[in-house]
């Protein structure tokens, strides 16, 4: 069998690839290399080191790896990804898709519409609404629950942003699972039901094996998005006392507010590495699945 299915020939195939490769080079590879370089200097936003940055070797990297605030931030990010993306968005998204799978009409349209609306609204608008909801002094939630003065964003900052991000991003998982569930032949489910399988058994033995690829792809995408998500900043700014300072917020706080651009670049590069590892794990899992299927 010919490997050149489109019949382009090597020259034209390269021609098609070049624009994409140039874009990737200019906007991805070069900035990544530049970040590594900046991370090796004491570059600052203001002061002498802004005009004349000095090469400091791996100092920023070792400082970051030894920084307690970085460790805390990494751990909070893991909680944020697991809580809001893996459990929250993927779990809730699947639950909604499953519950609506053979419904049609107004109920489905309203539910889908509301979930989608949370996803498509601009993040600053959404953040403002959530602050109005959770504010300790005049918040809507306190008015509803009659718990006046309970400062949700201060006493439970992580839980607040996990909940917020779940609400915000469930739409993607819901739509992806909704489409995936349509690929499960109804006859298989019917057969399983007739054989007396419980709902859990149907999910485990019929549905999940069929949509495993979709689930992994979804988890890969939303984990990476959530890992790098900055919207939570607009709710808590990483506070109070860094208790919701996930990595992107940490980088912003040290690099731009604290002015330590070199140190911020070093941390950014570490985050890039973590993202690559995360992506590799998922891709490995996906490939393993294909190997079995073939």
């Amino acid at each position: 069998m010919s490997t050149d299915a489109a019949g382009l020939g090597r020259g034209r195939a390269v021609g098609f690839m070049v624009p994409a490769l140039v874009l990737i080079g200019v906007f991805l590879v070069f900035p990544a290399l530049w970040t590594i370089y900046l991370g090796l200097t004491d570059f600052r936003l203001t002061g002498l080191a802004a005009a004349d940055p000095k090469f400091v070797g791996a100092e920023n990297y070792t400082a970051a790896l030894g920084d307690e605030r970085f460790h805390t931030s990494l751990w909070l990010t893991v909680q944020f990804v697991l809580g809001s993306a893996v459990i929250g968005q993927a779990g809730l998204g699947f639950a909604i898709a499953w519950a609506l799978r053979d419904r049609s009409g107004p109920v489905r349209r309203v539910v889908e519409g509301l979930v989608l609306l949370a996803w498509i609204l601009p993040s600053s608008v959404v953040a403002f609404l959530w602050i109005a909801l959770l504010d300790g002094d005049q918040g809507t939630l306190n008015a509803l629950l009659r718990t006046d003065g309970f400062a949700w964003l201060l006493d439970h900052p992580m839980a607040s942003i996990v909940l917020f991000n779940t609400w915000r991003g469930t739409a993607f998982s819901m739509m992806l699972y909704g489409a995936a569930l349509e690929s499960v032949p109804p006859s298989h489910l019917e057969t399983a039901r007739l054989a007396g399988a419980s709902a859990f058994q149907q999910l485990r033995d019929v549905v999940f094996p069929r949509i495993r690829g979709h689930m992994l792809t979804n988890l890969l995408l939303i984990s990476l998005w959530t890992f790098n998500d900055f919207t939570a900043f607009q709710l808590t700014a990483g506070g109070p006392e860094g208790r919701s300072e996930i990595l992107p917020v940490y980088i912003y706080n040290v690099a731009l507010n604290g002015g330590k651009l070199g140190f911020g670049a070093a941390v950014s590069f570490l985050v890039l590495l973590i993202n690559l590892v995360l992506a590799l794990v998922y891709l490995r899992l996906l490939r393993g699945r294909r190997g079995v299927a073939a």
Partner: protein, 458 residues
């Protein structure tokens, strides 16, 4: 055929865009006479009076004056209404990318680090020798000129200065059996007043800014006035204050008011805590609040303030900040304060540096300065204006007569803002319940890392 048509379309689109782009900037005669002013001020919000003065008086007047000279000048105002730290980041990024407004409002304390970074240039380098000939210099006292200077070079024109005092609510004081003309003579008397207010059911007796969310306000309104009250300064004789007994005394005072429930930790932790504390003071929920005269003229101001108090004149009192004990303050003083002030600088990347200087000088003329006081009375940098207006304003007269003679200034060094952050973090540790020893030790280590252990006093 196809590619050709596409190119034509692209070219047409680019031309159209270019036409749009240039329409706004080149006006009239063809030479580019546009200027932009920026400040952390916005109509209906933060520093509204400054924003309104700039838009409604300054810009029309300047354009008119230029028109009389036969020049068609277009001036625009870029408003901001955010926390000072965010504004600073924005301006630094603007200047770093060689963009930004022609005339920029800065806190005087940022001048050093911006100058060292090469973001701003001395005024006479940016605009030429006419700067030194300006009539206004003779009207600005040396100490006030220092606000816009770094290493003996003038980078900015100071707008004025201010002083820190204790504001208190006389109605709440009456409820707690405290005098209407309150003047504490020691830290203990502040705590005593707080205790009495608490007993009388005032939700938050004291608000002394603390924590990192408040940014420089914590240092300027809280930590530093307390520090000079122990007789010590943040920077003296070439050395920075480390985890010394004086710093421990300051942290100890914070710890005392937070553990005794006299102050509200959450206000210090919230992202919008400072704005909230203003609102709560205006709502009569806070007994005593330490602030600069900015609070009087721009926050609780009955008309344009962000948290207006209609009964400001009758309800709000002000007192000097006492030293730890009488005579324990810096220079052996009984009372202390801190001062700073904003300056305006020229953007060295301005396309019209001469014209920008003309506008800047006009902004600081006696006429413009006086006009700027209509919405918002304050202590200006010009002696001629102050002599004329301050006598009608008891609060500002109080600051000018009683506070400025005993005040202290922050060191105009580039590393200061980082030391300030370390100090804020130490107070944040206290707010979240850490001990004085722990917080002081962590602070000491940070300062030693910043300036080198040999430059720290302990």
């Amino acid at each position: 055929m196809r590619p050709a048509r596409m190119l034509t379309a692209l070219a047409a689109a680019t031309l159209a865009l270019a036409a749009c782009g240039s329409e706004g900037s080149s006006s009239g005669s063809g030479d580019d006479n546009t200027l932009t002013i920026t400040a952390n001020a916005i109509s209906g919000g933060k520093n509204a009076a400054t924003a309104d003065w700039t838009k409604n008086w300054l810009i029309p007047k300047f354009q008119e004056a230029q028109k009389a000279k036969g020049r068609n000048v277009q001036v625009t105002f870029q408003p901001n209404g955010v926390d000072d730290e965010q504004y600073k980041t924005k301006i630094a990024l603007d200047l770093k990318s060689k963009a930004g407004a022609d005339i920029i409002d800065l806190d005087g304390i940022w001048v050093g680090e911006f100058a060292q970074a090469g973001y701003i240039k001395p005024l006479n380098e940016a605009a030429g020798p006419e700067v030194d000939k300006w009539e206004g210099w003779s009207q600005i006292p040396e100490a006030v000129q220092g606000l816009g200077a770094f290493e003996d070079k003038k980078y900015g024109l100071p707008q004025g200065t201010d002083g820190r005092v204790l504001f208190y609510n006389k109605k709440l004081f009456a409820k707690a059996g405290l005098p209407a003309d309150w003047q504490p003579k020691s830290w203990q008397e502040i705590i005593d007043a707080g205790t009495a207010l608490k007993k009388a059911g005032v939700p938050t007796p004291l608000q002394i800014d603390a924590g990192t969310a408040m940014g420089e306000a914590t240092t300027m309104q809280g930590a530093l006035p307390l520090l000079v009250g122990t007789g010590s300064e943040i920077f003296a004789d070439g050395k920075w204050a480390g985890g010394s007994q004086a710093v421990k005394d300051v942290l100890g005072f914070y710890r005392q008011i937070f553990t005794a429930g006299l102050a509200e930790p959450r206000l210090q932790q919230e992202a919008k805590g400072r704005d909230k504390s203003f609102q709560q003071f205006a709502d009569g929920k806070i007994g005593v609040l330490a602030e600069g005269d900015y609070f009087w003229r721009s926050v609780i101001e009955p008309k344009a303030g962000v948290a207006p108090m209609q009964d400001r004149e009758d309800t709000v009192g002000y007192a000097l900040i006492p030293a730890k004990q009488p005579g324990a303050g810096v220079r052996g003083q009984d009372f202390v304060s801190m001062s700073g002030g904003a300056v305006r600088v020229l953007n060295p990347n301005s396309k019209n540096p001469k014209l920008a200087w003309e506008l800047l000088a006009f902004m600081h003329s006696a006429e413009a300065t006086k006009e700027g006081l209509i919405g918002e009375a304050r202590i200006t940098s010009r002696t001629d204006v102050n002599d004329e207006v301050l006598k009608d304003n008891p609060m500002l007269d109080f600051v000018a007569q009683k506070v400025l003679p005993i005040t202290s200034y922050r060191p105009g060094l580039a590393v200061y803002p980082q030391v300030s952050v370390a100090l804020q973090e130490a107070t944040a540790d206290i707010v979240s319940g850490k001990s004085v020893e722990e917080a002081a030790a962590a602070y000491d280590k940070k300062v030693a890392d910043l300036v080198g252990p040999e430059n720290v006093t302990r």
